[in-house]
Amino acid sequence: MKIVTLVKYVPDATADRTFDAADHTTDRAGVDGLLSELDEYAVEEALKIAEAGDGVEIVALTMGPDGADAALKKALQMGADSGVHVVDDALHGSDALATAQVLAAAITKIGDVDLVLTGMASTDGGMSVVPAMLAEHLGLAHVGFVGELTVSGSTVTARRDGDVASETIEADLPAVVAVTDQINEPRYPSFKGIMAAKKKPVETWTLADLGIEAAGVGLDAAFSVVREVTKRPERTAGTVVTDEGDGGVKLAEFLAAQKFI
């Protein structure tokens, strides 16, 4: 069985993230990057499936600029077997549609993939649409927002907890599954894992390797455009009182003054 986990290299969410002043794309150079935290759950789930079965191979796949292979490195340290980094200057500013198209081509090139595991969203763009778009390109089932996953033979069974109901879904492999942060607790790379990762193979592919025209991806080919980016003014702190036995009453008084009661 071959599992591909999608790993995205994102600007650290705890840092001061910003946009490129010229083209409104996410500034990926001025802020330290790392593996999107939500993708760690996908890597962990792949490792759990591998540990429970025989002959499971895990390929970590990322698309991003130079440096994005740091996301692959983390996945390899956690235990993935090999990595693929799709990198090409023409990809700068690609939207979700182009990203899904490129990732679908890479998964097809990897070949004989049974399961694609992804996080529920990236921690930067956060659209959550790439997994479903990928499935649409590949003609596969997609189950998103998965909190519990079982692989048995050629079927996956997944539980997803929605607003109005909890659903159990069955899908035939190959399939694309996006998991939430409720599904497991991602491991930290062990010393052994960190050492082993140095010897694991990482391939670097360009658009030409995937047979994709540069003109069809990147910022100029995007299907939507950012018009304006405005930094939200910092919230100014209001009144803070210390509870001296009357904190609840003061709170109620504030709510009443603001017409909430």
């Binding site: 659209m127 790439v130 649409e136 018009r227 702190a237 009182v241 904190g247 909430f260």
Partner: protein, 315 residues
């Protein structure tokens, strides 16, 4: 005027409030046309008309309820193509985004998610980077597909008598690959839906696992209850109520954060709330920096007193 399609979010015909918000936004950009997929249309007809649907497309097929998302995306794609729609609006829920993603690929159209406003020319406003930035954007190719967050607009009635059109859809093989084998409706709490509520009271690590004071205050205010990731990860409250980057994003009129320190993960989910009230034992908690009103104190003492005072004032 081009039709702006609104995918109706409903449970057996009970239309959710977000759909009324979408109809209100759609009216700015064109002629609102509701797309009702699944069973129960009789229960939805009057509501859709009351909020201005000039037309309703109805697709009834067992596949829509038996399989995940793809039949809905195929039905919507067919209607968008045959009607020559000027845009498609959906709710920004996991399902809404999955449908939007597949629809955008099928139509060869751009997609924008998590809009908090949509103008007459379908320019969207989004809040990004944990609420740190506001971005306006526009789809430039194909039929704009836009998912809109709850509370993006106040539903405005605009009574219309919608023309009804039943649509037959021939689903592809790809539509039946993910089977829904079980569906357990969530037990009703009697409280407003978290993402739709105008007041949210959330509890975090400071509750120590006891959400009773949080729930009591929520009920006194007619509010929804939320929880921080720390509280959810500790197993104190279900994930469906988690506010934050990996849970729900809320933007209510009033947000009360009780025993929550205010990590970026949580702030991402509530930063755009209009008024923020904080109760926390730790005066150094970063969340105080964004509070309009804060009480440094133990929520187990402050909340019950506030609840009692609110009940007294309400008589």
């Amino acid at each position: 005027m081009a039709e702006i399609l609104v995918l109706v979010d409903h449970v057996d015909g009970a239309v959710r409030k977000t759909t009324l918000e979408l109809l209100t936004l759609a009216r700015r950009a064109g002629e609102p046309a509701a797309v009702f997929l699944g069973s129960g249309f009789d229960a939805a007809r009057d509501t859709l008309g009351e909020y201005g649907a000039a037309k309703v497309y109805v697709v009834e097929a067992p596949e829509l309820e038996q399989y995940l998302v793809v039949p809905k995306a195929e039905a919507l794609a067919q209607i968008a193509q045959s009607s020559g729609a000027g845009g498609v609006l959906l709710t920004s829920s996991p399902e809404g985004k999955e449908i939007a993603a597949r629809l955008a690929v099928k139509l060869g159209s751009g997609v924008i998610t998590d809009a908090v406003d949509v103008t007459a020319d379908l320019t969207t406003t989004q809040s990004v980077f944990a609420g740190g930035y506001t971005v306006t954007a526009q789809v430039t190719k194909g039929t704009p597909v836009i998912t809109v967050k709850p509370n993006a607009a106040t539903p405005e009635a605009a009574p219309a008598t919608p023309a009804e059109e039943k649509v037959a859809v021939a689903f592809s093989d790809a539509a039946t690959k993910a089977r829904i084998v079980e569906r357990k409706p969530r037990a009703a709490t009697g409280r407003p839906e978290l993402t739709e509520a105008s007041i949210v009271v959330s509890g975090g690590r400071g509750t120590g696992g006891d959400f009773a004071p949080v729930e009591a205050l929520a009920d006194a205010l007619g509010a929804a209850v939320g929880a921080s990731r720390a509280a959810v990860d500790s197993g104190w409250y279900p994930h469906a109520y988690q506010v934050g980057q990996t849970g729900k994003t809320v933007s209510p009129q009033l947000y009360l954060a009780c025993g929550i320190s205010g990590a970026i993960q949580h702030r991402a989910g509530m930063q755009t709330s209009k008024t923020i009230v904080v109760v926390n034992k730790d005066p150094e908690a970063p969340i105080f920096a964004m509070a309009d009103f804060g009480v440094v104190g133990d929520l187990h003492a402050v909340l019950p007193q506030a609840t009692a005072e609110i009940q007294k004032r309400k008589g």
